[in-house]
């Protein structure tokens, strides 16, 4: 990839510096807090699983029992109960599901609890490590078999078994990445449902069992096609760390995970989100899971031409928060989208500029490029052409992860044939102009260079303003996506807990160690 825009290195560095300054106070806050779902995620990684007759998951039961004393962390009480009650983790989970309270056992031999916990943590992380190695081995074995960019398709039938059919069909026809959409309401649940599910709207639940079912189905196609098929879900919403943990165990390969999406688009409390996010990113980083950030969403509520700088600013912030969680650039699927009004003269060139700019500023990140959605309409023929222009720009600017546009975007969640048409069209276009990016230069003083440099400059100005105000106040004032969220408003604040002096979470400690994080 050649740099063609002549972007100022000094301005890029300045933006990174500002992002670091902006993130710092937030990370200070994060360091001092935990949340119910961080604790549940840690429990999951050492084996807490299952649910009671009412469907309440064991990790939730444990954490609920620890209400008021969570400032010390949930692992010690859980492992203490394990040692006291005799038997393995599975048995303990069953007992908890049956009504046992971990708090019924007085905290005994601390050293024994410590040892046992560390043993379980090691086991859990080993399992995650094996998943990671498996992925790496397969990617090596089937090198160069995936498309560039990766072709990414969603399935959203609301029934995991129907999703499997559609996912396999898509993978057979050339999809490299399958994202299983969750049901509309899941991000607001403060628990992760259990078992295989066949219901939901606009998707079905993200559950560990569903992950397992889809993973197996995609591995089957992968072996047949000799092409690794990436599985994606959402480490987002009120349970992002737990979903990251489940994904790490079941070898998901990508996770939607954004520093501000939940705040802006789900009205989740911002303190809660930032704490959850860091832990979830550490898990993702350790598991080698590529995150997909959600800058594209901004453009659905604010104007893509006017607010292009907010997208770039958010990319810098997402990058900074990801580095802070020990994540290497190659796992950062920073998001952006082609969302300008299709009637804009030279809109294609502005979009090209934006995509090329992101490419040059984040050279190692597998940028996740999203198709037009907002201006898609019932005119499926025009929509199909808009998607073709998107396919063109994506390949022309060497994007990493290419979310396929659907000609029926404005109508329904994709039919099987919609997905097929999207794939066929992307394959045709991208093959037909494969060498384009290598082939062309942009004219000095032309639309593309001027636009990219302008957006970068506006981004620096915008970041300066945020650095001044502070990130939380900036969000509160609606600087992102034209959405205002009060600091103490939103869902899930009650699940935030200040760490006490006794706080102990060896999962976090081990992750930090492995990821080389100071704090």
């Amino acid at each position: 990839m050649r740099n063609k825009l002549g972007l100022s290195k000094e301005r890029i560095d300045r933006a990174r510096e500002l992002a670091e300054r902006i993130a710092l106070p937030v990370l200070d806050f994060v360091a001092g807090h935990t949340t119910v779902t961080v604790e549940r995620a840690a429990l999951r990684l050492i084996g807490a699983d299952g649910s009671n007759a009412d469907g309440a998951p064991v990790p939730n039961l444990v954490v609920d029992q620890l209400k008021g004393q969570l400032e010390s962390g949930a692992l010690a009480p859980y492992v203490n109960a394990l040692l006291r009650s005799g038997g393995g983790v599975g048995e303990l989970n069953a007992k908890i599901a049956g009504g046992l309270k971990v708090t019924d056992f007085p905290l005994g031999d601390r050293a024994a609890v410590r040892r046992k916990t560390e043993e379980l943590v090691a086991e859990g992380l080993k399992r995650v490590g094996l998943s990671r190695k498996h992925r790496e081995a397969k990617l090596e074995e089937w090198k160069d078999r995936n498309s560039k960019p990766l072709l990414y398709l969603i399935v959203a039938t609301g029934n995991i078994y129907e999703d499997v059919k559609q996912a396999q069909a898509a993978a057979l026809k050339g999809a490299d990445v399958i994202a299983v959409i969750r049901t509309t309401a899941q991000s607001l649940l403060d628990y992760v449902p259990y078992g295989a599910t066949t219901e939901g709207f606009g998707g079905t639940y993200a559950t560990q069992e569903n992950f397992r079912i889809m993973r197996a189905a995609l591995d089957e196609v992968a072996e047949r096609e000799k092409r690794y098929i990436w599985l994606t879900n959402y480490a987002s919403g009120l349970c992002m760390p737990e979903i990251a943990a489940m994904g790490a165990i079941e070898r998901l390969d990508m996770m939607l995970n954004d520093s501000m999406y939940g705040i802006l688009f789900r009205d989740i409390n911002m303190y809660r989100t930032f704490v959850d996010q860091k832990f979830s990113r550490m898990i993702n980083a350790y598991a080698g899971i590529t995150i997909n950030t959600g800058e594209d969403n901004y453009l659905t509520t604010s104007d893509a031409f006017e607010k292009a700088n907010t997208v770039l600013a958010s990319q810098f912030l997402n990058e900074r928060f990801a580095y802070a969680a020990g994540m290497p650039a190659r796992l950062m699927g920073l998001g952006h989208a082609m969302e300008m009004e299709p009637g804009i003269e030279n809109g294609f060139l502005y979009e090209l500029a934006q995509a090329q700019m992101a490419r040059e500023i984040f050279p190692e990140a597998p940028l996740k490029y999203m198709p037009p959605t907002k201006f898609m309409s019932g005119d499926i023929f025009k929509g199909h052409v808009m998607d073709s222009m998107f396919n063109f720009i994506s390949k022309a600017t060497d994007q990493g992860i290419h979310l396929l546009g659907m000609l029926t975007e404005a109508i329904h969640t994709p039919f099987m044939m919609d997905r097929f048409l999207g794939l066929e069209s992307a394959k045709y276009v991208m093959n037909s102009m494969a060498g384009f990016s290598d082939e062309i230069e942009f004219r000095e003083g032309g639309i593309v260079k001027t636009r990219a440099n302008k957006v970068l400059e506006e981004t620096v100005v915008f970041l300066e303003e945020i650095a001044q105000k502070g990130l939380l106040d900036s969000i509160a004032q609606g600087l992102f996506a034209d959405v205002k969220r009060p600091k103490d408003g939103g869902k899930g604040l009650e699940g935030l807990v200040k760490k006490g002096p006794e706080y102990w979470n060896p999962v976090e400690d081990e992750l930090k160690k492995a990821l080389g994080l100071a704090r």
Binding site: K165, A169, L172, T184, T301, M417, E424
Partner: protein, 247 residues
């Protein structure tokens, strides 16, 4: 005299229609014949399957052109939408109308309800700045508009409306997959009825897949789909309230 219309390909009444669909059978000659017979089975007279492709081992995709002989008497067709463009009053006209006929501000409360998180549609209708160069309801001097945002439970919405003594409630529903909106929209009306307050509010539904017909069937006063602007809603609500005040 009946004014019978049929689809037009390149000659009046040639009845040409393009179709595409997927069948749960493998691609091949037998699949293509199944596609052709299916189209004939739906009532078309002729059908040519011009394209087939394997979508997977078990599914196949078809493009077909078919001919229909069925005609529709256009004279009997009436717009199913709330009003035709020429009945819609401008912002100024609406304000004058409200001032003249009701002599007070009217109060509207809107939200995107249930688990639906799409605010853009209801914002387009309500926000100051409006949409596509059409101002939103908040800009109307004679309208007091409250926009509660998205993911608002029906209970909350109704309580709020009652509190501010709303004249009308605006419900937005964007996600319609598996008819999730039907349940939510029905529950809204049931809740109102259970409280004995259905008569108290003009109830409006909106969203890209909401037709007036459908909304009325569910018990709303009107439904608004794609391409709705504030003036459509304002016109309807104002006229409806005047009608109610006279009754």
């Amino acid at each position: 005299m009946a004014n019978v219309i049929r689809p037009y390909g390149d000659t009046l009444d040639d009845g040409k229609v393009q179709l595409s669909f997927t069948l749960p059978v493998p691609d091949g000659p037998r699949g293509r014949e199944a596609a052709r017979l299916s189209v004939l089975g739906w009532g078309f007279k002729d059908c040519e399957v011009v394209h087939s492709a394997a979508v997977s081992d078990e599914f196949s995709f078809y493009v077909a052109y078919a001919t229909t002989e069925a005609g529709l008497d256009y004279d009997l067709v009436q717009s199913a939408e709330v009003h035709s463009e020429d009945q819609v009053m401008s912002m100024d006209e609406t304000n004058d109308y409200i001032r003249a006929k009701l002599g007070r501000k009217i109060v509207l409360v809107g939200a995107c309800t249930g688990f639906d998180a799409h605010t853009v549609g209801i914002d387009a209708v309500m926000n100051m700045k409006g949409y596509n160069h059409h101002f939103g309801l908040e800009r109307y001097p004679m309208i007091e508009a409250y926009n509660l945002g998205a993911q608002v439970p029906n209970e909350k919405l109704i309580e709020f409306a009652a509190r501010v003594k709303a004249d009308a409630i605006l419900v937005s529903q964007i996600v319609t997959q598996k008819d999730v909106h039907v349940e939510n929209m029905t529950q809204f009306i049931e809740l109102l009825e259970a409280r004995g307050e259905r008569g108290r509010f003009v109830c409006i539904a909106g969203g890209p897949r909401i037709s007036n017909k459908f909304a009325v069937e569910l018990g709303y006063d009107a439904g608004f789909g794609k391409g709705t602007y504030a003036e459509h809603v304002a016109t309807f609500v104002a006229k409806k309230l005047v009608e109610k005040s006279l009754a």
